[in-house]
């Protein structure tokens, strides 16, 4: 029963596939998660992220492929023989055991000595000193969440899996726990693999995010990389919001010249993920300047339009601007630079070419547009 000897190393998923009777939940997944990193699997429900996590935990058997920690293949190891612990979505605290016994459970199963001092140390790490003799039902959601974390961390696993760990908490507590989780991860230096459908949560905590869709990784990278330089329409829409406009390449030099319904704009080559001449040209709503038609234009890429809607939401004003080809573009203007644009005004939308990205036109423009999740 002893914990598998410390193997140390990266968590590797090699051609990992899981098929259920009617569909493929995880489709030939290849990932290397560096030791000690905070890694997020982000995607909508049903994208295969939880199935991936359960296969790493040993609660689901892969149909094919391998799961490795360092040099050790753990693909078909029983869950209690893996150097991996899980924080479950609903915490799954044992209701008949007090907090101390919940946290000590893993140590006792491995017949570890000095249980008391270790439990006390870990409870103080999650700031629950003095709660040892309470029962789980006496604790608030946030406290239960921290017990679940302590119960897993005390075993010093090679990899800690977190399955939507903050899903059951209210918004304020969730923010607080995000910071807390990040602090603890840095402190213990264990690899955290965090599954979530909440892009903000993933971006706040993770060093690296893999965006999953339909059992595959769409794109992987740091939060900045994913947000600033999405390579698929799914990522562009799922992480934040994007304006995507259909365009044709008319010139290839140091950068690309692209024509959008008669408006010529520039796109850096480094931010173009396709060699095709048909592209989706993307720009984030907060990168766009909005100026009245008779005012000077501050940036090089320009599209004229008419304001159809303006909503003031405190930190920013959100505009919908209708172009000549009847597409509605979204613009977020910080409430610092007041353009004074009102619905019905003719405006110029302009942005820096460096903030433009281009995607292959052979993709669904609405992929990943957020639909309200049924299960959250």
């Amino acid at each position: 029963m002893a914990q598998a000897e410390s193997v140390g190393g990266d968590l590797q998923l090699v051609h990992l596939t899981k098929m259920f009777a009617t569909f493929t939940a995880v489709d030939d997944l290849n990932l290397v998660i560096p030791k000690g990193s905070f890694f997020a699997l982000l995607g909508p429900s049903g994208c295969g992220k939880t199935t991936t996590l359960r296969m790493v935990a040993g609660l689901e058997e892969p149909t094919s492929g391998q799961i490795m920690i360092g040099e050790k293949d753990i693909s078909f190891e029983r869950p209690y023989r893996r150097p991996v612990n899980t924080v479950f979505q609903s915490y799954a605290l044992f209701p008949h055991l007090d907090i101390f016994e919940n946290v000590a459970f893993g140590l006792r199963r491995r017949k570890v000595k000095e249980v008391k001092s270790q439990v006390e140390a870990i409870l103080s790490l999650v700031e629950l000193d003095g709660f040892a003799r309470r029962m789980p039902a006496q604790l608030s959601g946030g406290q239960q969440q921290r017990v679940a974390l302590a119960r897993a961390l005390i075993n010093k696993p090679e990899v800690l899996l977190l399955d939507e760990p903050l899903g059951a908490l209210d918004l304020k507590l969730r923010r607080q726990m995000q910071i807390e989780l990040k602090r603890i991860q840095v402190e213990v230096g264990i690899t955290f693999v965090h599954v979530t459908h909440d892009q903000e949560e993933a971006m706040t905590m993770a060093d690296t995010i893999a965006v999953m869709n339909g059992g595959k990784v769409e794109q992987m990278g740091s939060p900045t990389e994913l947000y600033e330089n999405p390579r698929t329409t799914f990522v562009a829409n799922f992480l934040g919001q994007s304006n995507l406009i259909s365009g044709k390449v008319f010139e290839r030099s140091d950068d690309l010249g692209v024509e959008l319904y008669g408006n010529r704009i520039r796109v850096p080559r480094s931010r173009t993920s396709s060699n095709s001449d048909s592209l989706w040209v993307g720009v984030r709503p907060e990168k766009i300047n909005i100026t009245l038609a008779d005012r000077p234009i501050p940036a090089a890429n320009v599209i004229p339009g008419v304001v159809t809607d303006a909503s003031y939401i405190g930190v920013s004003t959100q505009y919908l601007v209708k172009t000549a080809w009847s597409e509605e573009l979204m613009v977020f203007e910080q409430n610092l630079l007041n353009s004074g644009a009102r619905p019905g005004d003719s405006v110029n939308l302009s942005w820096d070419p460096a903030h433009t990205f281009a995607l292959d036109a052979n993709q669904d423009v609405d992929a990943g547009v957020e639909v309200p999740e049924a299960d959250s």
């Binding site: 040993g58 869950p79 209690y80 609903s90 799954a92 605290l93 209701p95 199963r109």
Partner: protein, 287 residues
């Protein structure tokens, strides 16, 4: 209204004002459920009170069912009457063995039905209810036919086999309900925390299902202890307590029967009280 207070001064008119009638109506309406409740509870407990009262009775003749004279004699000498205590002993022995057998088999069945996906699971789930639904007379007589056909001698063992049989369904249903409410993630969490299959069962599953198993066992015992119909068909020359009472009733029930009845009632009451107290203490701990 200021006049409609509950303090009644002597100068107030006896004649009921409309507001008083209204108040009576409101009172009646709000206490209706309480009144009905008291009537129903009285209806349920009257037979129990009669048994308790008659256990202290010293009847003039064997055939009187009236309360003649108060005495502790029945309680001091419960085994005075013929073979009654032997019959009680037989019933207890069968009850305990039937409880153990039915609880064991029924619990295993409940686990199989809730936890495993096997061919015929839905049918099993349905058939489990059959012994509960079929009339006891039918079960008793068909068992008798079987035992006779198999040339199995009637007596203690045939009663036991019959009791285990009809208790199983009740155990399955009770344990199943408890097990269905158990979050499978608790067991997954235990496995994730280095507990192998046996440790997971021993430390997590069993303690959490235990209340269901205990109530199933209590139910099985009470079903076995007071069964008459099925037992009567399959008993041969063995006499259980309900059969003794039935036989005695032909000649006039000795008051000691009421002593045993009252003792059983008190025993059950104590068990219920203990479990309630334990439950309350647990709830306090659980918040």
């Amino acid at each position: 209204m200021p006049t409609a207070t509950s303090t009644r001064s002597p100068s107030q008119p006896v004649l009921k004002t409309p507001s008083q009638i209204h108040r009576a109506r409101v009172w009646f309406r709000s206490h209706l459920i309480l009144l009905v409740g008291i009537v129903v509870l009285g209806y349920m407990f009257l037979p129990v009170f009669v048994v308790v009262a008659l256990s202290f009775n010293e009847p003039k003749s064997r055939l009187t069912y009236t309360f003649d004279k108060f005495t502790f004699n029945n309680w001091l000498h419960p085994c005075q009457v013929g073979d009654m205590c032997t019959a009680v002993g037989t019933s207890l022995k069968i009850g305990i063995l039937a409880t153990i057998g039915a609880t064991l088999i029924g619990t295993l069945m409940a686990f199989a039905i809730v936890r495993h996906r096997f061919r015929g699971r839905a049918v099993t789930n349905l058939l489990v209810f059959l012994p509960m639904a079929s009339p006891e007379v039918v079960m008793g007589s068909s068992l008798l036919t079987l035992f006779v056909a198999a040339k199995f001698p009637l007596g203690f063992w045939t009663i036991l086999i019959a009791h285990i049989m009809f208790c199983i369904s009740f155990v399955v249903v009770t344990v199943k309900a408890r097990l269905a409410g158990l979050d499978p993630r608790l067991e997954q969490a235990a496995m994730d925390l280095y507990a192998d299959e046996w440790q997971t069962f021993r430390r997590i599953t069993l303690p959490l299902v235990m209340p269901g198993i205990v109530s199933a066992a209590l139910l099985a015992f009470s079903l076995s202890f007071d069964d008459f119909i099925v037992t009567n068909f399959n008993s041969g020359s063995t006499v259980t307590f309900p059969m003794f009472v039935w036989g005695a009733a032909q000649r006039g029930i000795p008051p000691q029967v009421n002593v045993i009845g009252t003792a059983m009632f008190l025993f059950a009451l104590t068990l219920v009280l203990i479990s309630q107290l334990l439950g309350a203490r647990r709830r306090r701990r659980l918040g």
